[in-house]
Symmetry: C2
DNA sequence: TTGCGCTCGACTGCATGCAATGTATACGTT
DNA sequence: AACGTATACATTGCATGCAGTCGAGCGCAA
């Protein structure tokens, strides 16, 4: 059985409620056909997750502005650099089964193919699956959980401006560089590759506004 | 008014419930003199925070084992490297008021003095305040929030083995190196100093067991 | 005595009802 | 006509009651 929290989270992440949307508990009760108690609980947990924000009246889907989005990407870069480094280190220690690496390559290929073919939603999904698998290889469950949260936040806030990446070839190139660094057990290079890749993605955001004052 | 979630969190972080302790909602109801509804909600949020863990029956305070503790420290190292780098970068851009830096130095001194004088609890508190201020200077609220969560987890799981640091002088030396790197606007050095400092703290843990199998 | 099954109890999850609070609107006053 | 105030409504937070579920302890049989 799926919890109300999971269902609501899925709704938000999948874009059923656009960022900035104001929601009341009552609305969700009829939408999910449950009582207010589990809805209340779910909303508060999602607030801890940074997906919704408590307003004076009700809650609203968080929309990260330019600065907050840049902050999130920098965190993601730091964490993915860590997971990539750990994954490469495990490879160096001979702790990674070969199947895990071939799977990584397959995920990268799937991400590249779908993106190139124009299926943006599937491209994002496969891209995330690729990055997520790196974190799985790192064998650090807490880092994986944190990255999942950050990814959800970013997905919600960038869905509206989801456009065809102007540089699919570059993205795949960066993925390959990361795969190679991990496969050949070079932690430092893996970390750098992951960090640079994420920061490049940030730089490619349509409305950076990475500056300061509003 | 303080929410039940905040009160319960404070109880756990302050060590009122030792790690591994089994708790039922009913117990907390009488302890906090509230109904089960807010208690339930608080427990689930704390589970998201990684402070409690849902058991088959009730919940228990999480106790990170050697591997999980090492994982947490590595995440902390990565995030603190990021915040230190950002803080140094802001200093380079002239965005840091001088008062912020003097405050940083004062916090480091307080941490050093209390630790050296043998007041372990106060030492931990001041030490955390010092590190937290670096994250504040970084001006990345999400990173600050993540670090707060990690710190709470680490505090709960290391309270039992809280012993006098065998190397107070080294700790202060590392703090000074970090302060200098930030004050003089050297992001790369600040990042390295922060990372090394945290990883050194990990290495100083009494029961590392950073290896693999149990 | 030991192993298995059953029944009782405890605990969690959800729905509903009530009280408190803040907001928006409408009315009266200046 | 504009502003201040009061009232009514919407909405949140909490307490309580009920049903379902899982575990523990006890009894019975081999």
């Amino acid at each position: 059985m799926e919890s109300t929290y999971d269902r609501l989270r899925e709704l938000i992440v999948s874009g059923a409620y656009p960022p900035g949307q104001r929601i009341t508990e009552q609305d969700l009760c009829v939408r999910l056909t449950v009582s207010r108690t589990p809805v209340r609980e779910a909303l508060h947990r999602l607030e801890s997750d940074g997906l919704v924000r408590g307003e004076r009246r009700g809650v609203s889907i968080v929309e990260l502005d330019g600065k907050a989005l840049a902050d999130a990407y920098r965190i993601r870069a730091a964490l993915e650099a860590l997971t990539a480094e750990l994954a490469a280190h495990r490879q160096l220690a001979g702790e990674l089964p070969p199947a895990a690496l071939t799977r990584l390559a397959r995920l990268a290929e799937a991400a590249d193919q779908t993106t190139t073919s124009g299926d943006l939603a599937a491209g994002v999904r496969h891209n995330r699956a690729f990055h997520r698998h790196v974190a799985v290889l790192a064998d650090n469950p807490q880092a994986l959980a944190m990255l999942d949260r950050i990814w959800d936040q970013i997905i919600v806030s960038t869905r509206a401006s989801l456009a065809a990446p102007a540089r699919p070839a570059t993205v795949d190139e960066e993925h390959q560089r990361l795969i190679t660094a991990i496969s050949e057990g070079r932690p430092a290079e893996a970390a750098t590759a992951a960090r640079d890749h994420v920061l490049a993605t940030l730089a490619a955001q349509p409305d950076p506004d990475t500056g300061g004052a509003p």
